[in-house]
């Protein structure tokens, strides 16, 4: 942990007290935190890490108590970021230690959970045990004598059922009382700090033997769960089930996210038009209407996919299925140095790399998480679709079947590049293979809609607060590069407009002339813009791929978003409405000439451009999210450099291979 890391996020608000919430994963800790703190909680990275913690506050009789929801841990001494955060918070490394610690314990699995309680009792400050899921324990014939447990631990024990709210008022009162205590009181059998897991287990077993009774007929062997596990992790049925679940998940994601995305785009386009109507023409109007509103649109449009994805993942995780699915996919992905958990980020990246990379938080090991983040953008996202459609149409004008085959091949090439790159990173930058999969398989249960909604909200807000601001800035800069410097209309444009305004010209003909003048002016403006000038400067770099300055401009402007490539080319061939790329426009792009009059889009150059766009990191927002998720510039720069190099070399090989094979 960096000693210089800012501690503001975990510090105590002036005049308030703070508690920490801790527990094993899958104990209902998040549900309890949500019930105590509600929707006002904020998610942010723990100082010096990229691990998220949640901070909220609990109101008890007018008293405000801050609450820090620490990541779920089995043992605070593990060599993991989550355990390090727990140690830092409990020992007061970053800020004063919490006034009290609430540890959420699964009543159905008391021995293992008490091991963590034993560790916490060694720290200063009162400990409150929220004995959760007592209803489920009762159904399994497990009865816990909470008074005896409290006496043995020297801690307050509150039986709770987080899902229904049972025990939560008592828990609030206990928290209020505990933060006012000067000392934790007597702890009759607290294990010493640094006790081994074996010693802690022996201590926990002794307590369980004294305070727990199991009614006749109760058994730890859950035959139903075992049967379901065998089915869901079986090589065949497990894979079929995985495909079905993921199919439903991504169908839902694609289908439902489109509605708010379209709505956001339409609303912000309307806002841009409103600004244009209200403000006088000039650079300020252009900056607000096109730069800022356009930049906000380019950021907010990602929100529906991000929120919906995390909502669905949260539901799926709550059911207990994700742990089983991770094993199913581990068989495939482990060979490439990726963990089984990587399937969610990789599949999500087919929709968009931004939520894909954000969902890599599911992966527990940092090395595995980094490997997944680095290769996720190779998966063909939806923004590549229009580029694939355009370029395959250029290559296979009258052969739609071949276009479809190559189109599919693009997706396979992207996936293959991701997997091969994972091997390469595993042997170089991130040496070693994926950590061997060891996972707790939690009980199956109904998911919590409230938790899923709050997770979606938290992730959406976190995206807007961090990556979102960078993306807006990128969008504004890219707009400025494409729009400036403003040049005066050329002679041909002026002549066309003069001709349109001449007396005696029919209305329809005048309209056509004005339209032609507008198109020509847009094309001249694009060519003279900084992006256009950069295209000319960068042209020699891309010349070996067969790209001329126009195609190079398309490559540069598509850093904003890949689909911009299509609209840029559309404008360059004189299409007034850049969003309307019909057969006529495709024909004009196909015939687009170089300076020497020869066509730009020969089969070899088109194929090279297609391969380039499959493999290149043409997306600055993705780099912004990688920076956020990896905590620095190192990995986004590696991602950009690596993917660009791979794309360039592959495009070069394809072009020259085709030329050698006799294609033009």
């Amino acid at each position: 942990m960096s000693p210089t890391a800012p501690a503001a996020e975990v510090s105590v608000a002036s005049g308030s007290k703070r508690i920490a919430l801790l527990g094993n994963p899958n104990t209902g800790k998040t549900t309890i935190f949500n019930a105590l703190c509600g929707v006002r909680a904020k998610t942010s990275n723990f100082p010096g890490t990229t691990t998220a913690i949640r901070i909220g506050h609990i109101d008890v009789d007018g008293e405000r108590i801050d609450a820090v929801d620490l990541p779920g841990v089995y043992d605070t001494r593990l060599n993991s970021t989550e355990a390090q955060i727990a140690r830092d918070v409990l020992s007061g490394e970053q800020a004063p230690p919490p006034a009290a610690t609430v540890v959420v314990v699964d009543a159905c699995n008391l021995t293992r959970n008490l091991v963590l309680v034993g560790e916490l009792l060694a720290y200063p400050g009162p400990v409150i045990v929220a004995l959760n899921m007592v209803d489920l324990a009762a159904r399994r014939g497990v009865k816990v004598d909470t008074a005896a447990l409290a006496e043995r631990l020297g801690a307050t024990v509150i039986p709770t059922v987080a899902r229904t709210g049972v025990g939560l008022p008592d828990l609030r009162k206990a928290i209020s009382a505990a933060v006012s205590l000067a000392s934790p009181g007597t702890r009759p059998t607290a294990p010493p700090l640094g006790a081994t897991p074996e010693a802690l287990t022996t201590w926990a077993e002794a307590i369980v033997a004294d305070v727990v009774t199991q009614t006749a007929g109760g058994s730890q062997v859950d035959t139903v769960t075992e049967r379901v596990d065998r089915f869901l992790t079986h090589p065949l049925s497990g894979m079929l089930c995985f495909i079905a679940v993921m199919g439903v998940l991504f169908w839902t994601l694609f289908t439902l996210a489109t509605i708010p995305m379209d709505l956001i785009e339409a609303t912000l386009a309307g806002l841009g038009d409103l600004v244009r109507g209200l403000l006088p023409a000039g650079p300020i109007r252009d900056l607000i209407a096109d730069g800022i509103v356009g930049g906000i649109a380019g950021t907010v449009v990602f929100l529906p996919q991000i929120c919906l994805l995390f909502f669905l993942i949260s539901l799926l995780e709550d059911t207990g299925y994700l742990a089983r699915a991770a094993f199913v996919m581990d068989r495939v992905l482990h060979r490439f140095g990726l963990p089984g958990h990587a399937f969610v980020p990789l599949l999500t990246s087919h929709a968009c790399a931004l939520p894909g990379i954000m969902s890599a938080r599911l992966i527990p090991d940092r090395r595995d998480r980094l490997a997944t983040i680095l290769v996720a953008p190779f998966m063909s996202c939806s923004a590549r679709l229009p580029v694939y459609v355009l370029l395959t149409s250029l290559i296979f004008a009258d052969r739609p079947a071949m276009a479809a085959v190559v189109f599919t091949g693009c997706y396979m090439l992207g996936a293959a590049a991701a997997l091969v790159s994972a091997i390469i990173f595993g042997r170089t930058l991130l040496k070693g293979s994926a950590r061997p999969m060891v996972l707790e398989l939690p009980s199956y249960k109904a998911p919590s809609l409230r938790n899923a909604l709050l997770t979606a909200k938290d992730q959406g807000v976190a995206f807007l607060r961090t990556a979102g601001t960078v993306i807006v800035a990128i969008c504004v800069v890219m707009w400025w590069l494409s729009a400036y410097p403003i040049v005066e209309p050329g002679g041909e444009v002026v002549a066309l407009r003069t001709q349109a305004a001449a007396p005696g010209v029919a209305v329809a003909e005048a309209e056509a002339l004005r339209e032609e003048a507008d198109t020509l002016e847009t094309r001249e403006a694009q060519a003279a813009s900084f992006a256009g000038q950069m295209g000319r400067i960068a042209e020699p770099v891309f010349r070996p791929l067969g790209f001329d300055w126009q195609l190079t401009v398309g490559v540069l402007t598509s850093f904003l978003a890949r689909e911009v490539f299509v609209s840029t080319l559309s404008v360059l061939v004189g299409n007034g409405d850049a969003s309307d790329v019909d057969e006529g426009v495709i024909a004009r792009i196909r015939a687009m000439p170089r300076s020497d009059g020869t066509p730009v889009f020969t089969p070899a150059t088109s194929a090279a451009a297609l391969v380039f766009f499959v493999l290149a990191m043409q997306c600055l927002p993705t780099l912004a999210v990688t920076r956020r998720e990896t905590g620095g510039l190192k990995y986004p720069l590696i991602q950009l450099g690596y993917m660009s190099t791979v794309a360039y070399i592959a495009a070069f090989v394809v072009r020259h291979g085709l030329l050698l094979a006799g294609f033009s």
């Binding site: 043992d75 699995n109 293992r112 058994s219 992790t233 089983r324 061997p436 398989l441």
Partner: protein
């Protein structure tokens, strides 16, 4: 444990329903620590819920999935034929 070396077998060789106690592991420190934190401490008793890939074991009330490779590096002392509820000893409630 004088004869442990002769009776300890890889966990991966046990069939579904078999019971055993942990003898030793030949795993990296992080994986070993994670298993201990999940309850697979020295000499702890376990039950095989599923043989194969993944290998699923139960330690007290915790079900742990491990890859076949990990199961091959966990050495256990088998306890003999399983009882009707999977554990020889009376269940420790809640444990």
């Amino acid at each position: 444990m004088t004869n442990d070396a002769t009776v300890a077998v890889p966990l991966s060789t046990l069939q579904t329903g078999a019971e055993a106690s942990l003898h030793r592991t030949e795993l990296d420190d992080d994986t070993r620590s994670l298993l201990r934190s999940l309850g697979l401490t020295d000499a702890s008793r376990l039950r095989v819920c599923k043989h194969g890939e993944p290998f699923i074991i139960q330690v007290r009330a915790t079900r742990i999935g491990v890859t076949g490779a990990v199961a091959g590096r966990i050495f256990v002392i088998a306890s003999g034929a399983p009882s009707s509820n999977g554990f020889h000893e009376p269940d420790r409630a809640g444990g």
